[in-house]
Amino acid sequence: MMFFLAGRVLHRYGTTEISRVSGLLQDHAVDGGLFAAGVLAVVGLPPFGLFISEFALFRAGFAAGRPWLMGLVLALLAVAFVSMIGHLNRMLYGAPTAGVTVGEGSAWPLIRSAPACVALVVLGLTLPAPLQALLTRIVEIVER
C-alpha cells in the first residue's frame, strides 16, 4: 500500500525529496490522507494491526525477562516515531508546491490497495480464529 502511494506522490511531484513536497493534504486529499494513515500505522498507532503486533512483541519481551533490551528497542522506536511524524508533517502541510497539478487525476486506482487497508484495520481490531490457529502452528514448528 505505502510504496504504491509513494509512487503516486512521485508521479505528481516528480521528486522523492521530502522538502520539495508540501501541501499534500490540500492538493491531493485522498492520497495525502491515505499516506498519513499509512505513516501513522507504521509508527505503531492504533487502530492498525501494527500496533497490536508491536504491543504483543513488547509484552513477550517483558514476560521473557528482558526489560533492558525492550527499553532500548522502545527508545529507538520513539526516535523513529518522532522523525517520521516530523517528515510527514512537512509533506502534508505548508504552502502547496508550485507547478503541480491541483486535484487528483483519479482516486480509483487506489481501490487496489483497499484489501491491504481493510486487512490492517481488521487485524488491529480482532485476530480471526483461523489466523490464530495458523500462527500457533507456525510457533509449534519453529519452537520444536
Partner: protein
Amino acid sequence: MSLSIVIAAFSLVIQRNYKRMLAYSSIEHTGLICVGLALGPLGTFAAMLHLLNHTRWRSR
C-alpha cells in the same frame, strides 16, 4: 539483531527522501521481527503477526 533497528532509527532522523524513509522503516520493522523471534514462543507468535501486518502495509 537490534543493530538494524539502531541503524534504521537514526537513518530515519536524517532522511530527506520519502521513499527511503519508507524503506528504512521496513528495515526497522525487520529488526523488530528478529528481536521477536529471539524471545521464545510468545515472541515468535508476535513476530509472525508483525511480519504479516508489515507485509500488508508495505505491498498492496
